[in-house]
């Protein structure tokens, strides 16, 4: 068997050979196997895109057409209420535009063995969630006369989160280094160290104090432990992949976020490409539409092949186009023409849009092959 397969190495990709290896019965006659391999090769070569095939436009149309049927604005929750996640067209636009700040960052945290069965799940969840001063304060008052801020702590909430007075004070001190903090009768009094008294500054200070980080993972604003396929996972609103992968109880091999830029930063461009494909495919599947994943792969490749994640915008992949005319035909034409004229760019007319503009045959399909012959003089 192996000998026959070996002949096809290089002719067929490794993954196809592996598929054959897996699905063939152990005992198969040499002639039968050869027959199978011939069919496989025939099918494989038939599936390949032919030279000159306009895969880009076919992909664009294949994604764009079902896109018109997508409900424009769909916010819906995965699992339980109060967790709104952007899906549908807004989400696809967000991904393909390559926006750095997505509207609803979200994570799925998988846990290591004893914890994934529910051990300390509540504790872990609380440990992960970011707690700010505003979350446990029952009252924040401005004392303008003495230019200080007084914060009353809701003791029940603090107890629930297992925050003691000592570590709260410590956290507040690290969060607000330029303030002096005192405790009087359970009331935390914040005072500015510098003397310049400005009533506006104290208002700003109040907002800053509210946001004081106390504990948990920064960026995780909501948590939701869910049982999925017989194990506990934590779904979060807000994302911080880097921090979470460092935690001992987190299963780093399966934990994901929907923030593709974060994945690119932490796990690299290949992971980002996969995440991109998955995220877009999830939305399309969710809408009950059917788009071949290879179209998405092509889009993801275009966005990632430079080693940096680039959106399909005039600042992203369109800027990378070689042709001035092609760039100019997509948004802000004058800017592109002027900058091209300053550097004396040459347009080689190698792509589609430029040739349509000049009314020349576009170099795809029947316009691609050329007759090469010697000129008789």
């Amino acid at each position: 068997m192996e000998d026959t397969l070996k002949k096809y190495e290089g002719r067929l990709p490794e993954s196809v050979l592996e598929d054959v290896r897996q699905s063939m019965p152990k005992k198969i006659s040499e002639s039968k196997l050869r027959e199978v391999m011939e069919t496989v090769e025939k099918e494989y070569t038939q599936m390949l895109a032919e030279p000159g095939e306009s895969v880009g436009i076919v992909s664009a149309e294949s994604i764009g057409e079902p896109g018109t049927q997508m409900t424009l604005n769909t916010f819906h929750f995965a699992g339980v209420a109060e967790m709104n996640i952007t899906t549908g067209l807004p989400r696809i636009i967000e991904i393909l535009d390559g926006r750095r700040n997505i509207t609803t960052p979200m994570m799925e945290i998988y846990l290591k063995k004893p914890y994934s069965q529910g051990k300390d799940i509540k504790k872990i969840a609380l440990y992960v969630k970011e707690t700010k001063l505003a979350d446990i304060a029952s009252e924040i008052t401005l004392n303008l006369a003495e230019s200080r801020i007084e914060v009353t702590i809701d003791n029940d909430k603090a107890k629930e989160l297992a925050i003691t007075e000592a570590n709260l004070l410590k956290a507040l001190k690290t969060a607000n280094k330029n303030l002096s903090i005192d405790i009087k009768k359970g009331i935390y009094i914040f005072k500015m160290k510098s003397k310049d008294e400005n009533s506006n500054a104290i208002y700003k200070l109040k907002e800053k104090i509210k946001e004081s980080y106390i504990r948990g993972v920064r960026g995780i604003t909501q948590i939701l432990p869910v049982k999925k396929d017989g194990e506990f996972i934590i779904i979060t609103a807000g994302s911080n992949l880097k921090k979470l992968l460092g935690l001992p109880f987190v299963d780093g091999t399966r934990t994901t976020t929907n923030d593709i830029f974060e994945i690119e930063e932490v796990l690299g461009i290949e992971a980002a490409r996969h995440a991109l494909i998955n995220e877009v495919f999830k939305v399309i599947e969710n809408q009950g539409l059917n788009v071949d994943i290879r179209h998405l792969m092509l889009v993801a490749d275009t966005m990632c092949f430079n080693g940096k994640l680039k959106g399909i915008t005039r600042y992203g992949v369109v800027r990378e186009k070689a042709s001035v005319l092609a760039r100019a035909s997509f948004e802000t034409p004058i800017k592109h023409i002027i900058s091209a004229s300053l550097t004396g760019e040459v347009d080689k007319l190698n792509s589609v849009v430029e040739n349509v503009m000049l009314n020349q045959p576009v170099p795809v399909g029947t316009g691609l092959p050329k007759l090469i012959t010697k000129r008789v003089k």
Binding site: M357, N359, P363, G365
Partner: protein, 600 residues
């Protein structure tokens, strides 16, 4: 403390909002306050709003006190004797107008029998919840709201008899229906609005069945015999206007048969219908290109010096002609003066519009469709009693749209037609379906409206029975004759050399950016190039400087305006639009240098 607002402005507070509202309403009913004042208390926001501003939508209701309407039999008798009028009832506080906010505070009974002590108002008639045109939809309460809406919208586009003095009117874009009929199934609004005096449809026999697939996707099939008997036939009128304008320097337009030496003279044939005054005679049959009103204008850009020149008397041709694809008969000619004292000539052209494939028809239930096929009378299916339907309506149009009234009207129309009476189909107050069915049974038909039918071509009996009835059909003003358009060659724009746009200018149909993409996706590169050849040009290019050179056809030489004659000049084929953009670059001081390379 409840905040109180007058016309949206805060005016004060009250301790007892309900008492305040009651007092204002009482005083309004007594006539102390204007009947235009409305007051409401919003529990949610705990605020009282008093409104007297204009622009609120209000509707009249009968006031109810202690579960009894204030309107009594005596009032009605007085009304009948014309002793009192509507406005008297409003003044007496028997009827009052509520706006949307006050309506929220009220409990309105639909019928008098529904009244309880809790009710504050009674509908004058359930019909009053609809507007004038929507009230014309029979059995509308059996339709989905959306279809009642589209049904009433469609009625506004129906052809009819819009004005009795139409022969002497000069309206733009007029359609008239030749044989309008009053509907058999009607609502009280038809009587109230004198509908029979300006009816806009015809009662026809409709069978709900398919026919060779020509009535799929909302199309309808009509009987050619019915068309020949006048179904949906109409006239289309369009005025043509010419005015003797006055220009500076005492020059004027002149309405007359143009001289042969006039600039832009068409041909003698085009002027053949004009009489001595330069205007066409009535009842002339005109086709495209024919001149309706002959007119000449003084030459353009005439400066004071030119007036003394000999050539200055060459006037311009500016006649009013029939446009591309138009034809008709001259109906009426009007010669008058306009406000500035200029001679004004208006000619009305008439054209007969016989229903053809593509014309739009509709029932009154938003069941619009275009004519898909016109079948000879002999080939139409017929019922056992020999009735041949005028129109075949596809059954697929019914389930998803849920226009039950469409079916009920068919049944009711059948009863009306057979018993020779009008059927009352007023919303919420119509003749019940059961009674109609009983009556139909009594007339010797199946009570469900089904009939045995035969194939008109083969004479075979259909295995299923077909729902046949009578209903009121409207012809809508969207007719193919006004919209049909095609072009192979034709006029181009001056600037871009691309085809003009729009039917009036005999324009091309744009192959847009997304359509272009489909050609690329198919790899049909050379076909795409051919599509875009409409503004193709061949330009000489100087190989030295890469700019567009000059080709002098007279002297048979090519030269570059910058590099002179001793340079290589080649001819390239590009779109004229690209030549324009190169010119535009030059105007921005950008040097677009074309580097030529042999393709081979």
């Amino acid at each position: 403390m409840v905040d109180t607002f007058l016309n949206g402005k805060f005016i004060g507070t009250t301790e007892n909002p309900l008492e305040l509202v009651r007092k204002i309403v009482d005083e309004r009913r007594k006539g102390i306050l204007s009947e235009n004042v409305n007051v409401s208390y919003d529990k949610e926001s705990n605020e009282v709003y008093i409104e007297g501003a204009k622009g609120r939508l209000r509707r009249p209701l009968i006031v109810v006190r202690d579960g009894k309407p204030v309107l009594t039999e005596q009032h009605i008798k007085q009304l009948e004797k014309k002793e009192i009028t509507w406005s008297d009832l409003v003044k007496q506080g028997v009827i009052e107008y509520l706006d949307a906010a006050e309506e929220d505070n009220s409990l309105v009974a639909f019928f008098e029998k529904d009244l309880t002590p809790k009710h504050t108002h009674l509908e004058i008639t359930p019909l009053a919840i609809f507007g004038l045109i929507t009230s014309l939809v029979p059995y509308a309460n059996f339709n989905s709201a959306q279809k009642v809406n589209t049904g009433s919208k469609n009625q506004k586009q129906a052809l009819g008899f819009y004005a009795a003095n139409y022969p002497v009117r000069m309206d733009m874009d007029v359609n008239l229906l030749h044989y309008p009929q009053s509907p058999i199934v009607r609502s009280v609004m038809h009587s109230i609005s004198d509908y029979e005096k300006h009816a806009s449809g015809q009662n026809i026999v409709v069978a709900v069945m398919s026919y060779k697939g020509y009535n799929m996707e909302d199309a309808v099939i009509i009987n050619k015999g019915s068309i020949e008997r006048g179904l949906g036939r109409g006239s289309y009128y369009r005025p043509m206007v010419a005015e003797e304008l006055r220009y500076s320097g005492g020059l004027v337009d002149e309405i007359s048969i143009p001289n042969k030496d006039v600039k832009g003279y068409k041909s003698e044939k085009d002027y053949r219908y004009l009489e001595d005054d330069g205007i066409i005679y009535p009842e002339a049959k005109v086709k495209e290109g024919d001149v309706i009103i002959g007119k000449t204008s003084p030459p353009r850009f005439l400066s004071s010096m030119d007036q003394y020149r000999l050539a200055s008397d060459t006037r311009r041709e500016s006649s009013v002609t029939m446009k591309h694809g138009e034809e008709g008969i001259v109906d009426m000619i009007l010669i008058t003066e306009n406000g500035e004292g200029n001679k004004l000539v208006q000619v009305k052209i008439r054209d007969e519009r016989i229903p053809e494939v593509g014309d739009k028809l509709t029932s009154r239930h938003g069941q619009k469709g275009v004519v898909g096929l016109i079948v000879p009378h002999a080939d139409m299916p017929f019922t056992a009693s020999g009735i041949v339907p005028d129109l075949l309506f596809s059954p697929h149009g019914i389930p998803s749209r849920m226009t039950m009234a469409h079916l009920i009207e068919l049944l009711a129309g059948k009863v009306g037609a057979l018993s020779g009476r009008y059927v009352n189909g007023t919303v919420f107050d119509s003749e019940p379906e059961d009674a109609l069915r009983k009556e139909l049974l009594g007339l010797g038909f199946r009570d469900n409206g089904l009939e045995t039918m035969f194939n008109g071509e083969t004479g075979e009996k259909f295995t299923v029975r077909i729902f046949v009835g009578d209903m009121y059909y409207l012809k809508l003003k969207h007719m193919v004759a006004n919209k049909i358009h095609s072009r192979a060659r034709g006029p181009i724009q001056l600037l871009t050399r691309q085809p003009t746009e729009g039917r009036a200018k005999e324009g091309g149909l744009r192959l847009g950016e997304m359509e272009k993409d489909t050609y690329v996706a198919h790899g049909a590169s050379l076909l795409l190039k051919e599509r875009f050849d409409s503004d193709r040009t061949i330009v000489p290019v100087c190989e030295t400087c890469g700019l567009i050179a000059i080709h002098d056809d007279f002297k048979r030489r090519d030269y570059c305006p910058t590099c002179g004659e001793s340079v290589e000049i080649s001819f390239i084929e590009i779109s004229y639009a690209f030549k324009l953009i190169l010119d535009e670059f030059k105007s921005m001081c950008i040097y677009p240098k074309i580097q030529l390379k042999s393709k081979y």
